[in-house]
C-alpha cells in the first residue's frame, strides 16, 4: 500500500518540495472553501448534509490518489509518513480551499488515531487505508445519556459469548451517526471492579440490525447529533481495541486525541491555516458588516465590542500553536491542551454575546427570504461551545489538577465496584 504516487518516495520528501507539490495539486483540483458550513451553529437540510458528506469522500479519495492524504500517518497504512512540518505546510497551502476539513474530526482523530495507537495489525490494515481513501467515516460512541462528563461511568455493557461480545446500551452526542459507517465504542465489560478497570473499547459497525440511530433536534433545528440504542448487537472479538477491561487506558488517549484536535495541533487532521475554532473565525472582520448594517460604525460601544472580539480571535490564534509547541517540547505536559479548550469555549461564548449585541433587533427577528438566521440563533446555542468536546468545567479540573498539580477532586466511585456506585434514578 503506497500513498505517494508522485514525487519522491513517501516519507522522504523534504518540506519545500512537498509544499510545491501540494500547492500545484491544490490549485488544480480543489474548489474554494464553502462559507460557514462547519459546526452546529446552524441547521442545514439533510440533502445538503449528505451532499457535503459525499463531496467530502470524493475530496478525500482525490487527496489519497494524489499522495496527499494522511500526511502524518505511516506509509504502511496508506499515509505519507511525513512530519508535522509537512502537515503545517499543507495547512498553509490549503487555506481558502475546500479540503473537507470540517469532516476530519472525529474520523481522523480521535478514531483513526486510536486505531493507530491501540489497534491490531489486522484492524489497522482493514480500516486506516479505507479511512484515508474516504471510504469509512467514523464516529465516537463515548458519551451516554446517564452522564456527560463522567465518561468512565459508561453503562453500555458488552458480555462475552465465545468469540463474540453481545452489546446492549445507549450512546449519545454522536455527530452524524445517521450517515457515518463505523463507531469507536467504549463499553463496560466488568461490573465487579471499580469503574475505570471494567471498560473495553470496540469497533462497531453503525448500520446493522440492533443499532437504532435516533436523530436529536437541537434548539436551532440542527439535527446532526444522534443517540443510538444498541440491542443485542454481536461484535467479534477481533473488533476489540486494546485489552479486555483496559478500555480506560485507550480512553485516556482517546480523549487526549480529542482535546488535541479541539485545541488544534493534532498530527492527524488537516486544518487550513487561519481557520478552525481556534483560528480567526469570529474575528472583528466578520462582525463589521453587522456594525455597518446597524449604522453603528461611529458608535464607540460598537467599536469597543468589535475590538474585543478581534482581540480574542487574535489571542486564540496565537495561543493554540504556543500550547502545541509547549507540549511537543515538554515545557507543558500533554494535559495542557485543556488550556486551549477552555480558551476556545469561553471566547466563543463571548463572541456569540457580542454578535447578538451588535445585531440589535435584526438578531431578534429577520426576513426568512433574506438569508440565514442572524446572531440571535447563535446566541441561543452559545453554551454549546463550552459543553461539546468536554465541558469547560472539566477543562478547569484538568488544568488545575494535571497542569498546576492541585489536589484531585474527592471521588466516591474510585475504589468501589461499579455495580455499587450510587446512580441517579434516571440512570437505571
Amino acid at each position: 500500500m503506497s500513498g505517494g504516487l508522485a514525487g519522491a518516495p513517501p516519507g522522504t520528501e523534504d518540506v519545500e518540495s512537498f509544499r510545491r507539490r501540494a500547492r500545484a495539486w491544490i490549485r488544480a483540483n480543489l474548489d474554494p472553501a464553502p462559507p460557514g458550513e462547519a459546526g452546529i451553529g446552524r441547521a442545514r437540510s439533510d440533502e445538503r448534509e449528505l451532499a457535503r458528506v459525499a463531496r467530502s469522500r470524493e475530496i478525500q479519495r482525490a487527496l489519497f490518489d494524489a499522495g496527499l492524504a494522511g500526511i502524518c500517518f505511516p506509509v504502511e497504512y496508506g499515509g505519507q509518513g511525513l512530519s508535522l512540518e509537512h502537515l503545517s505546510a499543507f495547512n498553509q497551502e490549503v487555506a481558502g480551499y475546500d479540503c473537507a476539513a470540517d469532516l476530519q474530526i472525529p474520523t481522523f482523530t480521535p478514531c483513526a488515531a486510536v486505531i493507530l495507537e491501540f489497534g491490531t495489525e489486522e484492524q489497522k490494515r482493514a480500516h486506516l487505508p479505507a479511512i484515508l481513501r474516504g471510504e469509512e467515516m467514523w464516529m465516537q460512541f463515548l458519551s451516554e445519556p446517564s452522564g456527560g462528563s463522567d465518561v468512565a461511568g459508561a453503562l453500555t455493557t458488552a458480555v462475552r459469548d465465545g468469540d463474540e461480545w453481545v452489546m446492549n446500551g445507549s450512546k449519545i452526542w454522536t455527530t452524524g451517526a445517521w450517515w457515518a459507517d463505523w463507531g469507536l465504542c467504549l463499553a463496560r465489560t466488568n461490573w465487579d471492579v471499580p469503574k475505570h478497570r471494567g471498560l473495553t473499547v470496540f469497533i462497531l459497525r453503525i448500520h446493522q440490525p440492533g443499532v437504532e440511530v435516533h436523530r436529536i433536534e437541537m434548539l436551532n433545528g440542527n439535527r446532526e447529533f444522534c443517540q443510538e440504542f444498541i440491542t443485542d448487537v454481536r461484535i467479534p472479538d477481533s473488533d476489540r481495541v486494546g485489552d479486555v477491561d483496559q478500555g480506560w487506558t485507550v480512553g485516556t488517549r482517546w480523549m487526549f486525541h480529542e482535546r488535541t484536535a479541539m485545541g488544534g495541533g493534532s498530527p492527524y487532521v488537516v486544518r487550513p491555516a487561519g481557520s478552525g475554532s481556534a483560528g480567526l473565525v469570529g474575528s472583528g472582520d466578520s462582525l463589521w458588516p453587522l456594525v455597518v448594517a446597524e449604522g453603528r460604525s461611529q458608535d464607540p460601544t460598537a467599536l469597543d465590542l468589535v475590538g474585543e472580539a478581534h482581540t480574542l480571535a487574535l489571542v486564540g490564534s496565537a495561543l493554540t500553536p504556543r500550547i502545541g509547541a509547549s507540549m511537543r517540547s515538554g515545557a507543558l505536559n500533554d494535559q495542557a491542551s485543556a488550556i486551549a479548550r477552555l480558551y476556545s469555549g469561553t471566547r466563543s461564548v463571548r463572541y456569540a454575546t457580542i454578535a447578538y449585541e451588535l445585531a440589535g433587533q435584526s438578531g431578534l427577528a429577520w426576513d426568512p427570504e433574506a438569508g440565514d438566521p442572524g446572531p440571535g440563533v447563535g446566541y441561543l446555542m452559545r453554551q454549546a461551545a463550552c459543553i461539546g468536546g468536554g465541558t469547560t468545567e472539566m477543562a478547569r479540573n484538568v488544568i488545575s489538577e494535571r497542569v498546576l498539580g492541585m489536589p484531585r477532586e474527592v471521588s466516591h466511585d474510585r475504589d468501589t465496584p461499579f455495580r455499587d456506585v450510587p446512580r441517579g434514578p434516571a440512570a437505571g
Partner: protein
C-alpha cells in the same frame, strides 16, 4: 517569554535575572519607595553592560542583538523586570535608543552622542508622545511649528511621562503640519519644565513635563519615514510593556499557587476547593494567553510583518484587560494579607496596574483595532 530560546538568549535572561535577584529584593524595593529616582543610577550602568540598551540598535550604531531578533531579546529583560517589579526606565530608554538607531546618527553629532550615552547606560531617556490625528491612545498635546534655520519650536504638555523627572534626554514625538516628528533634546534645556508626580508603583517614577516654545535645532530632529516610525515606536513600547506585565503576572500567579497549597481553612488546603482550583485554571489560561499574544506581537515586529501594529494593540487590549483581573484575583485568594504593605503581592499588583493606561488603555486599543478592521473590510 518565547519558547525555544537560543543558548545566548538563555544566558542573557539568566544574567538579568541574577542581577535583579541580587539588587531588587522586595526589601530593597521598599527602601527605594522613598527614593525620588526610584532606582540606583549605578545599577542602570551595570544593566547596560548586561545588554539592556543595545538590542534594538543596529550594530553600526553601536548596538546589536544576540539572536538577530532584537525585540525578542529585549523582552526577556522586560519580563525579568516585571517578575522582580524592578525599577528603572527600561521602556522609554529603549524606545529612544531604537529611534536614534533608526536614523543615521553619524550625520548628527548631538544625536550620535546621545545614542552613545543611552547605550552605555550613562544617560536615560523619557518619551513624550503625541498621538496621530484621529488616534486616541492617551497621547500628549504636543505641537511643533517651523522655526528659523530648519529648527522647530515645540509647545505643549505631557501630563504623565515615565522617568520624566530624571531622564537626561527627552524624545519628543510631536504633531506638525508634515505629520509627527521626533525631536531629541537635552532634558535640561531652557523651555522644559518637569514636575515629579506620585504614582501607583513603588519604584517607577512619572513626571509632568511642559514644553514652552522649546526650540530644537534641525540636527536634533528626525523626520524619519513619517508615520511608520511612530507606529514602530509604539509597538516597541507596547510589546515591552506587555512583556513586563506578563513577568509580574507570572510572579503573582506563582506566589498565589504556592499560597493555596500552604494555607489551610476548615482542615483542608485552599487548593483542594474546586472554586479555588477553577479560578486558578482561569488565571493560568489568561497567563498563557498573555504570553502567546505578547510573543506573537514581538515576533511580528521583529519580522517586519504588516500586522505588527495590530498584534501589538491586541496584546495591550488583552493583557491590559485580563492581567489586572488575574492579579486582583490573586489578592482576593490571599485574603486580607493580600492588601497589606508587608506582603509582596502588591509590588506586582502595582506594576500591572501601572501598565493599564500606559501607551493607550485597553479600551483605546480595542477601538484602534476596530478602526483597522473597518479599513480592511472597506478595502476588501
Amino acid at each position: 517569554m518565547h519558547l525555544g530560546l537560543t543558548p545566548d538568549q538563555e544566558f542573557f535572561q539568566e544574567t538579568t535575572r541574577k542581577f535583579l535577584d541580587a539588587r531588587c529584593s522586595p526589601a530593597e524595593l521598599r527602601a527605594l519607595a522613598a527614593d525620588p529616582t526610584g532606582y540606583r543610577p549605578d545599577w542602570w550602568h551595570q544593566g547596560a553592560e548586561l545588554g539592556w540598551t543595545t538590542p534594538l540598535v543596529p550594530e553600526a550604531g553601536g548596538g546589536g542583538s544576540i539572536s538577530g531578533a532584537g525585540l525578542a531579546d529585549l523582552s526577556l529583560a522586560a519580563f525579568e523586570f516585571g517578575r522582580h517589579a524592578a525599577p528603572g526606565p527600561l521602556i522609554p530608554t529603549n524606545v529612544a535608543a531604537y529611534t536614534l538607531g533608526q536614523s543615521a546618527p553619524a550625520e548628527s553629532a548631538p544625536l550620535a552622542a546621545w545614542l552613545e550615552r543611552l547605550l552605555s547606560g550613562t544617560a536615560t531617556a523619557a518619551w513624550l508622545r503625541a498621538d496621530a490625528p484621529g488616534m486616541e491612545l492617551g497621547g500628549a498635546e504636543l505641537s511643533a511649528r517651523t522655526g528659523l534655520g530648519g529648527s522647530v519650536i515645540i509647545s505643549g504638555r505631557a501630563s504623565v511621562v515615565e522617568g520624566g523627572a530624571d531622564a537626561e534626554v527627552l524624545l519628543v514625538t510631536a504633531r506638525s503640519e508634515q505629520g509627527r516628528i521626533h525631536a531629541v533634546v537635552d532634558a535640561s534645556t531652557t523651555g522644559i519644565r518637569r514636575r515629579r508626580l506620585e504614582g501607583v508603583d513603588l519604584t517607577r517614577r512619572w513626571a509632568r513635563v511642559e514644553l514652552n516654545d522649546l526650540t530644537v535645532p534641525a540636527e536634533q530632529i528626525l523626520w524619519a519615514d513619517g508615520p511608520d516610525l511612530a507606529e514602530r515606536q509604539l509597538s516597541v513600547a507596547l510589546c515591552l510593556q506587555q512583556a513586563e506585565s506578563v513577568g509580574a503576572l507570572q510572579a503573582a500567579f506563582d506566589m498565589t499557587l504556592e499560597w493555596t497549597a500552604n494555607r489551610y481553612s476548615f482542615g483542608r488546603p485552599l487548593s483542594s476547593y474546586q472554586e479555588i482550583k477553577h479560578r486558578m485554571a482561569d488565571m493560568r489560561m489568561w497567563l498563557e494567553a498573555s504570553y502567546a499574544i505578547t510573543v506573537a506581537a514581538i515576533d511580528a515586529f521583529d519580522a517586519g510583518q504588516p500586522d505588527a501594529s495590530e498584534l501589538a494593540s491586541a496584546a495591550k487590549a488583552y493583557v491590559g484587560q485580563f492581567g489586572p483581573e488575574l492579579v486582583q484575583d490573586c489578592v482576593q485568594i490571599h485574603g486580607g494579607i493580600g492588601v497589606t504593605f508587608d506582603h509582596d503581592l502588591h509590588l506586582f499588583l502595582r506594576r500591572v496596574t501601572a501598565g493599564v493606561p500606559a501607551y493607550g488603555s485597553p479600551a483605546q486599543h480595542r477601538r484602534r483595532l476596530a478602526g483597522m478592521v473597518a479599513q480592511r473590510v472597506a478595502a476588501s
